[in-house]
Amino acid sequence: MGAERNRRRGQGGKVPFGWNNPRVRSFVYQAAVLGLVIGIVWFFATTAQENLSRLNISSGFGFLDTTAGFGIIQTLIPYTEQSSYGRAFLVGLLNTLVVAAIGIVLSVMLGFFIGVMRLSRNWLVATIAAGYVEVMRNIPLLLHLFFWYFAVLRPLPGPADSIEPLPGVFLNNRGLILPEPIFGPAANAFFIAIAVALAAGFVLIRWARKRQIETGELFPAWRAALAMVVVLPGLVWLIAGAPFTLEFAEHAGFDFEGGMRLLPEFVALVLGLTLYTAGFIAEIVRAGIQSVSKGQREAAAALGLKESTTLRLVVIPQALRLIIPPLTSQILNLTKNSSLAVAIAYPDLVAVFAGTVLNQTGQAIEVIALTMAVYLTLSLITSLLMNWYNARIALKER
């Protein structure tokens, strides 16, 4: 395509003004496309305006301040039926973000684990991982969600006959009930200790790396940092007392009291998203690790590096370069797929806003546009962050 530019530049002056002049042609084509787009937008805008006035639908975002008048089963911020539609939007957005964040962390962990399993020399381990990938990837996500929600979690026994897989953890048809940590007066000191230890560890590792580059002397910085992160908060715990106490749920009447309750909708959504996406991430991880050529490992071994050091310094950094871009798109997919929540009535952004709010207000254009804008923004932010990270670890050719 560059050739065309050169040719055009070389001849630009000689070709007479007319259809044979590439510049004229290009201008005409672009003007035509632009005109077509503007025409379509104009047509839609005017018909929409006519339809809205005919159907007596008000437009604009004024409805966001109106009282919502419906309840939401999971709210991370204070919300009542008297709250506004705008507040309901925020509640839905936070529910989407929390489910996406937990899903991303879990599916990346599970995906890496299974991806490495697939490369195991142990035939049984590799086969189980391959089977997992083939089963999970080839079943629609919505079916995963229906399965976990309608076929597994909903038919569970009621609170009276809850399943107790671990002491203090209850599973019944109203959700998963966990002990809730109640933070005491020592909590602040504890968290400050963790923060200080992390910061000190970070500084220590950087210092050790710099010293190694300059003098060649090794310092077990990672181990020291890890020890600090464990010891410092541990000391605070011993001196100031436990930072939190676990409040266990207890049977009370027909239900449980206290503890932390995860809705069955939430559990099903996280399970479905994690298991489905982990299958894709596992394949990405496998491909990434396999792409590091054998010679790299052999060279590392010839230099006398231990296997674990080879893995950490040679294989993983090169594999990550191939893993990160497709991993980003999987993370984005997971975030977008969390919108399937609407099918099992988990109150995410789409269910609350594009579902209930749209039905109540009828302002389809504003509601859908706002919902889409949120997902577009999330996509944009994730790709920007990942591009930045990708640029940082990209091959630096000197």
Binding site: R121, F150, E307
Partner: protein, 369 residues
Amino acid sequence: MAMESITGRSASRSKTLTPLVWAQRNLFSSIGNTMLTLASAYLLWLTIPPVLDFTIFSAVWTGTTREACLAPGAGMCWPFIWANIDQFIYGRYPPEEIWRVNLTFALGIAVIVPMLIPGLPARRLNLVLLLIVYPLVAIVLLAGDRPGLPPVPTSEWGGLLVTLVVAITGIVASLPLGVLLALGRRSEMPAIRMFCIIFIEFWRGVPLITVLFMASVMLPLFLPEGMNPDNLLRCLVGVALFSSAYMAEVVRGGLQAIPAGQYEAARALGLTYWQAMGQVVLPQALRHVIPGIVNTFIGLFKDTTLVLIVGIFDLLGQMRAQLADPNWTIPQGALTGYIFAALVFWVFCFGMSQYSNFMERRLDTTRER
């Protein structure tokens, strides 16, 4: 496990070894490996027997009513599946017209299968049949309203029929659109390039659900009064636009793999842009991305289930509807239904992914040769 992975892939190359030696090498080569094997075996023991028991050994195979499946400990209720199999395939399509659906399926197989077998002649004719003739024939056959073919409104379509209609329309419409968008994104003209980039990134940035909501709730507001396409058609438009953006990125990958010299040589021979693209660059580029196109299709096939959220009964939606039937309320109903649906989707998707792998290997060897 991580340690082992760096030494290479699973060592199953030893086909000629006796089973004992093979097991010793691949399962029990060291203490750590033996422990892994035992842990894996335990995991399988926990998962496989209950699944097999539910789907096969305790399953109810015969019977015609729900009573057959009410025995305590009864597993999967196959009578439920057999009793509703017509709904799962055709939805509420009138039984006396079902031959039209079957004929459409048969014609579909007749035009798609030759397309998938590499090395058959008359590729171009086949492509025209698949992309232009077949869709028109299918519309006439399925929707009817022609002499001898009474009309069947799309609200009566359902089950696998709708799943296939949505998926195949999506792919057939998105292929040409995707090619145009991919070419536009690599165009020299800034206005066209910008338009294509915005179009592609917009559709790739939003979830399909919001697209379907847009198609079913918002689109009617943008159309003149009286012009009210039915729900399925609106969703098809949404799905086609959505998948064309993904298709464009796949095709762009193929275009990038073709050296610029190909295009330049074609132009030097006096071919126009469209001739050069259509006869030199695209045939090579599309060949490269057949696996990518199949993968997009698999994704689309799975995504068709989302149409149930806007009230269209695809296979999964039809399954939900049949599960709500009071004649078939059984405790294991949901498990039965969703396991069966999962099986159907799995067979389709796994088959297609195997085909995609096969094409990938084939393309690889031709490149190496």
